[in-house]
Structure formats: structure tokens, C-alpha cells
């Protein structure tokens, strides 16, 4: 018995180490480039504490192509967030009423399995066929297709806590479909919808290959950054990487704070 306990605690610690190593493996590259973006010299290295500088960020904002790319990325991510949020919400509403849920779910999650380069290629030819010129809109459509499966899963998780009896009660009390949605469903699933939109925003912001294939001359931030990386430009590339990471990290932190706040508030009102 004792031996078994010793063995199981050994296994537990082994697993802890594995998890820690995996987290380090996944996050070190991103953190590393964020740190070296504050090094003022030309060498990519970890800056000394008293040398931390925003020099390359200042340099970055001197580049004439950056504002355009930033604007495109912001528009692309925002529109994708709206489209993804709305489509995922429709998916969630439809899903409740369906008999053959498995087929519906299979179709909506299918795009996860399409490799980015193939989705990009086939869409670029498909858009050409439909006489849709490469534009911000083709990028947004591609990114919505990319983000929708993730958003659908988020929405379905949030809808799964929605009790059918509440909806029936609302109908019994004479509320129509829209009123039931506005006063019952939406308030209860609002956070899931926000989560779905957040997925849309962040996935679009950081996606590269699909945008690259369907964008024509419209540069998003990721396309601009990839060009700079390939050409081996000056260290402002680290600042650019740092910038795009900071935007994502900021949004993730805001979302986490928001959800923590919600949980706390509901704990207070319920308890």
C-alpha cells in the first residue's frame, strides 16, 4: 500500500514536470521574442535591466507601410469577429431544434480539418470564378470560415447550460420567438457569444496563409510581418512581433478578467 502511494506520487510529480516542460516549450518562443524586442542594440538578445528601451517600436512606427497593414488587420479582425459571432449564434439556435445534430456538427466543424494552404488556394480560385476581386471582404470571408468551427464549439458549450424548461416557460407565458430570444436566451448565452466573437477576432488577427492567398494587394499585419521576416529586415521586426503579441495578450487578459468578474458576481448573487 505504502509502496503504491510512493509510486503514485512519483508518477504525479513526473506528470507535473512534463506539463511544465510542455508549457515552457509552447510559450518560450513567444515570450522570448517579446523580451528581445526591448533590446536597443542590433543584436537579438535579452536586454540588461537598465537598457530596456522602446527604440525599435519607435522605429517601427516610422515605416510607411505599417499604418495601412495595422488598419487592414483591425478591420479584418473586427469584421471577422462580428460575422463569426452572428453565424455561431445562428448555429447555436438552430442546433437546439435539430433532430440530426451529429450531421450538423460534423459539417460546421469540418473546416478545422482543411489545411490552411488548401482552403486559401481553393477559395482564391473560387472567388475568381464568382468575380469577387481580392479585397478585405474575401479575407474576412476566409477568416470567418476558419474561425467558425471554434466559435461554434464555444457557443454550443455555452448553450448546453441553457435549460430547455426556461424556453418552454417563456413560450407558455405567451412570448414569441424573438421575445424569448431577447429576454431569455440572449442574456443567458451572452458570454458564449462574446467568446465566439473573440475567437474570430484573435484567429483572424494572427492568421497568415489564408489571408496571403486571397488578399491580393491588401496587406494584413501578419502578411506584412511575414514579408519582413523573409527579407531579414532590421530589428524593428522584433518590435512588430512584440506588437502583435501584445495586442493578443492584452485582449486575452481582458477576456479572462471579464470572465473572472462574471463568475464572482454570479457567485455573489447566487450564494
Amino acid at each position: 500500500m505504502r509502496q503504491a502511494q510512493v509510486r503514485s506520487s512519483l508518477e504525479r510529480n513526473g506528470l507535473r514536470v512534463l506539463v511544465a516542460v510542455a508549457i515552457a516549450f509552447i510559450f518560450t518562443p513567444s515570450l522570448y521574442i517579446l523580451i528581445i524586442s526591448f533590446e536597443p542594440s542590433l543584436l537579438p538578445r535579452i536586454p540588461a535591466w537598465n537598457e530596456i528601451s522602446l527604440k525599435w517600436y519607435r522605429e517601427l512606427f516610422q515605416q510607411w507601410r505599417l499604418p495601412g497593414a495595422l488598419k487592414q488587420a483591425a478591420l479584418d479582425a473586427s469584421l471577422t469577429a462580428v460575422f463569426t459571432g452572428v453565424l455561431a449564434l445562428f448555429a447555436g439556435l438552430t442546433y437546439r431544434e435539430l433532430k440530426n445534430k451529429a450531421y450538423f456538427l460534423a459539417l460546421l466543424t469540418f473546416p478545422i480539418f482543411i489545411p490552411g494552404v488548401i482552403m486559401g488556394l481553393s477559395l482564391s480560385v473560387f472567388f475568381k470564378l464568382l468575380h469577387l476581386r481580392p479585397s478585405l471582404w474575401t479575407v474576412v470571408l476566409s477568416h470567418t470560415l476558419y474561425a467558425l468551427p471554434f466559435a461554434t464549439i464555444v457557443i454550443l458549450v455555452s448553450f448546453s447550460s441553457l435549460k430547455e424548461s426556461l424556453i418552454e416557460a417563456s413560450h407558455d407565458l405567451g412570448a414569441g420567438k424573438f421575445k424569448t430570444f431577447k429576454d431569455v436566451i440572449f442574456p443567458l448565452t451572452r458570454n458564449g457569444i462574446l467568446g465566439a466573437a473573440l475567437f474570430g477576432f484573435l484567429l483572424a488577427l494572427n492568421e497568415f496563409i489564408r489571408a496571403y492567398m486571397v488578399s491580393g494587394w491588401q496587406e494584413t499585419l501578419s502578411i506584412y510581418m511575414f514579408g519582413q521576416m523573409k527579407s531579414g529586415a532590421d530589428p524593428s521586426i522584433y518590435a512588430l512581433a512584440g506588437l502583435i503579441l501584445s495586442i493578443s495578450i492584452l485582449l486575452i487578459l481582458l477576456a479572462l478578467l471579464y470572465y473572472a468578474f462574471i463568475r464572482k458576481r454570479s457567485a455573489i448573487t447566487e450564494g
Binding site: V19, I33, L93, I114, P115, V117, L141
Partner: protein
């Protein structure tokens, strides 16, 4: 209300069907015309294209196997060992990489694995190797590291989801009946988590097969991947070849999904959502 279905069908399914159809159309000057020819496929097997294809398949298989071996214990730890609070924290931690730029991650690995990067500096500094290892970067090794770093969460989540099907009481019953952990694992846990394992493997395999950035930024000179080949064929407007190679990848993808549904019930993964 069927807008999402229409949307995915129009943009996600129809272009792929067209791609497969167009791969049989003959080439004209920089475009294609209706007809039937196997020319693009012939070219695939007679020129070097299939070698690149096979090499990418090999790398994707290695990455998938490594990801499974690393992710399974992690998923088990998250779902079955830690408390609910830590489960939420760990799941959040592993969701975050989806939201961070993968181009940045891969580009950073270039600095980390380079001749004067931190890994080589450390190895030389600790006198483990006499001089920097050249094969850490611009090599198949670097590509595998990059793909693993990008795709590990894609393996963890499906397995975590499938582990929710393993009830604690079942595990306790198995233990009470005197089964060793090995027996419990192979007879109960493994069969119940098969959907998650399959779904994770299909994810990671397809993602790795279709990856461009990792190969572009970490791969060696002259080491093309399938997707790099596709991008360069596309810019040369060799459309039939582009469609034929895409179709081959799609056939593999659909085949794997069919196997997954047929033999591993990967559609059961979302069981908890299908009430």
C-alpha cells in the same frame, strides 16, 4: 436559420469539390478548360513532386506520433488528476497558444535554435558540445520542433474531451476488482478515449501536412514541403498541378476522417453537447 450551414457549404465544401473536379481538366494558357485528363496526376508521379509529398507525409507522421506521446499524459493529468480549479487554469493555459501568432512563434524559434541562439550557447557554455550544432536550425529537426510547438494543443484538447467519458467510478471499480493500472489503461481508458486520440491525430497530421510557415522559416535550403510546392506552382499558374496535389491531400484527409468515424467514432467526441 440555416445560414451557417449554407455558409460552410458554399465556402468550405463547394470549393473543395470544385478543386477535385478541376484537377481533371486540361490546361490552357494560364487557365483550364472543361474536359478530362490525368495529365496533372501523371506529372505528379513522373516528376519529383511525389518525393516532396512523401517527405512531408513522413514529417507529419513523426510530429503526430510525438505529439500523441507527449499530449496523452498531459491530457490525463488535466482531466483525471488535478483539482477542478487547476483543471480550469491548465485548460486556459493551453487555449492561449491558439490566440498567439504562429508566425511569431516560428520566427522566434529561428533565433532560439540558430548557431548563436540560446540553445547552442547553452550547450557550448556547459561544454556538452565543443562547437554549435549546425543541424538545430534549417533542418528537418527544426521543422519538427516548430510543428510540435504549434500543434501540441490540438492534440491535448480532443483527448481531454474524450477523457470526460471515463467515469471515476469505472476506474475505481476496475481497481477494486484487482486490475493493474496497465490493465485498466488498455482495457478501459484507451478504448474510451479512442475518439479523442483519432481526432487529435487527424488534426495534427493534417495541420503538419499543410503547414507552410514552419518549412519556410525553419526548413533547410532546397527542402520543400507540399504546401510550399503548392504556393510556388500557384504563382507560376500551373493550376492543374495545384488542383491535383490539393486533391491528393483532400483524399487523405477525407479518408482519415472516414476511418475515424468508422473505427473510432470520432463523432462521439461532442457527445456531451448532443443532448
Amino acid at each position: 436559420m440555416l445560414i451557417p450551414v449554407l455558409f460552410v457549404f458554399m465556402l468550405g465544401v463547394a470549393p473543395l469539390i470544385l478543386t477535385a473536379m478541376w484537377s481533371f481538366w486540361p490546361e490552357t494558357d494560364y487557365w483550364i478548360r472543361p474536359g478530362f485528363t490525368l495529365f496533372a496526376y501523371q506529372k505528379f508521379f513522373t516528376t519529383g513532386q511525389y518525393i516532396t509529398f512523401l517527405k512531408t507525409l513522413k514529417v507529419a507522421a513523426i510530429v503526430t506520433a510525438l505529439a500523441l506521446v507527449i499530449a496523452y499524459p498531459i491530457a490525463y493529468f488535466i482531466q483525471k488528476i488535478v483539482s477542478l480549479k487547476y483543471r480550469h487554469i491548465l485548460l486556459t493555459v493551453f487555449i492561449v497558444p491558439f490566440f498567439l501568432s504562429y508566425i511569431v512563434r516560428v520566427f522566434s524559434l529561428r533565433l532560439i535554435l540558430g548557431t548563436y541562439g540560446i540553445i547552442n550557447n547553452m550547450l557550448v557554455g556547459l561544454k556538452i558540445v565543443p562547437e554549435p550544432l549546425p543541424w538545430l536550425l534549417f533542418s528537418e529537426f527544426a521543422v519538427i520542433v516548430g510543428l510540435l510547438s504549434s500543434n501540441l494543443p490540438f492534440m491535448i484538447f480532443p483527448i481531454v474531451m474524450s477523457l470526460t467519458r471515463v467515469e471515476r467510478s469505472t476506474l475505481e471499480a476496475s481497481q477494486d476488482l484487482g486490475a493493474s493500472f496497465f490493465n485498466t489503461f488498455t482495457r478501459i481508458i484507451l478504448p474510451l478515449t479512442k475518439p479523442g486520440i483519432f481526432a487529435g491525430c487527424i488534426f495534427v497530421f493534417i495541420m503538419s501536412l499543410g503547414s507552410t510557415v514552419e518549412w519556410d522559416l525553419l526548413g533547410g535550403v532546397g527542402e520543400l514541403s507540399v504546401s510550399q510546392m503548392l504556393v510556388s506552382l500557384m504563382s507560376a499558374l500551373r493550376l492543374p498541378s495545384v488542383f491535383a496535389i490539393s486533391t491528393l491531400i483532400l483524399v487523405i484527409m477525407v479518408g482519415l476522417l472516414w476511418l475515424g468515424i468508422r473505427y473510432a467514432q470520432i463523432d462521439k467526441l461532442f457527445e456531451s453537447l448532443q443532448r
